[in-house]
Subunit: 142 residues, 2 copies
DNA sequence: GGTCGTTTTATAATCATTCTTATCCGATAA
DNA sequence: TTATCGGATAAGAATGATTATAAAACGACC
């Protein structure tokens, strides 16, 4: 998928971002690649069009895009390992902003429907569910 | 919470782990701390009882406990940033073993029930749900 | 075209985590 | 109890992802 310069300019303006060539190419690389890509993957793709680009630029722009809502982060957790000794069935409420995790009790998944959508071979033995949103503190800030 | 040496020995035997003092103290530190703790947090707690313990030992044991199911990992994602350009409502199916992410469509959350359990102030504006399990490939391996 | 603030580049720095190696300890058999 | 062996630990180096820094380049507005 290629956006025209004009299209990207509009998109950027709507989100308060300056327009640069690198930025456009990074954005297009993510959109073109259906899937969940790492910064390195994006970097590799972008380098085919701008060989001189630096990895830091990719990181900078991905972060910017996430911040202004153009992209979604697939790893919204704290970036470091967390461990939970509670093996009872429970679910997690995760703040997309500050990455805090709270437990929630209760069964609120329609497993019948869910299993209809789960591809063959995927084993839902531990259907731990993580629900994302904004915690009270972060909502107050925003 | 303190386990007797005998209790821990049983627990370890059931999971095929050798019994060491360090191991017991690490395990107890996680269980005693209700919440979602990082290796550094656990290290700090354990050092109060075994000042000479090394951070690597904490990491080793946490990994072991997770592998044999004594603990649950709260950050089951790939450890590196992943980015998703698909802003349409969809959910994720995450493999707890290999951390791969697949999209799934469909509405299978009972929002009425869910919202009953969500604490005041938490804003479910983006109720992206991640459902964990074992993907086909990892299930075949196990 | 000139100026100013932003972006990019290149590289250094940081942080979490894992690896390496030597040493130590727990479990088993004599 | 002691000898032995394999796995566990300690200490620190190494790795890999990400972020910070500083200088050069660029875009936007005049």
């Amino acid at each position: 998928m290629h956006l025209t310069h004009v299209q990207f300019r509009e998109l950027a303006a709507r989100h308060g971002l300056a327009v640069t060539h690198q930025r456009q190419v990074v954005y297009e690389a993510v959109i073109a690649s259906h899937g969940h890509y790492s910064p390195e993957d994006v970097y590799a793709a972008v380098r085919r069009r701008i060989p001189s680009i630096s990895l830091a630029t990719v990181y900078n722009n991905l972060r910017l895009f996430i911040e202004c809502g153009l992209l979604r982060e697939v790893t919204p957790h704290a970036s470091t390992l967390r461990v939970d000794g509670n093996l009872e069935p429970h679910h997690h409420l995760v703040c997309s902003r500050c990455k805090s995790v709270q437990d929630i009790e209760g069964e609120f998944i329609d497993f019948k429907r869910l299993s209809r959508h789960v591809p063959d071979g995927f084993d839902l033995t531990q259907p731990l569910v993580e629900v994302f949103g904004l915690c009270r503190r972060c909502r107050a800030k925003a």
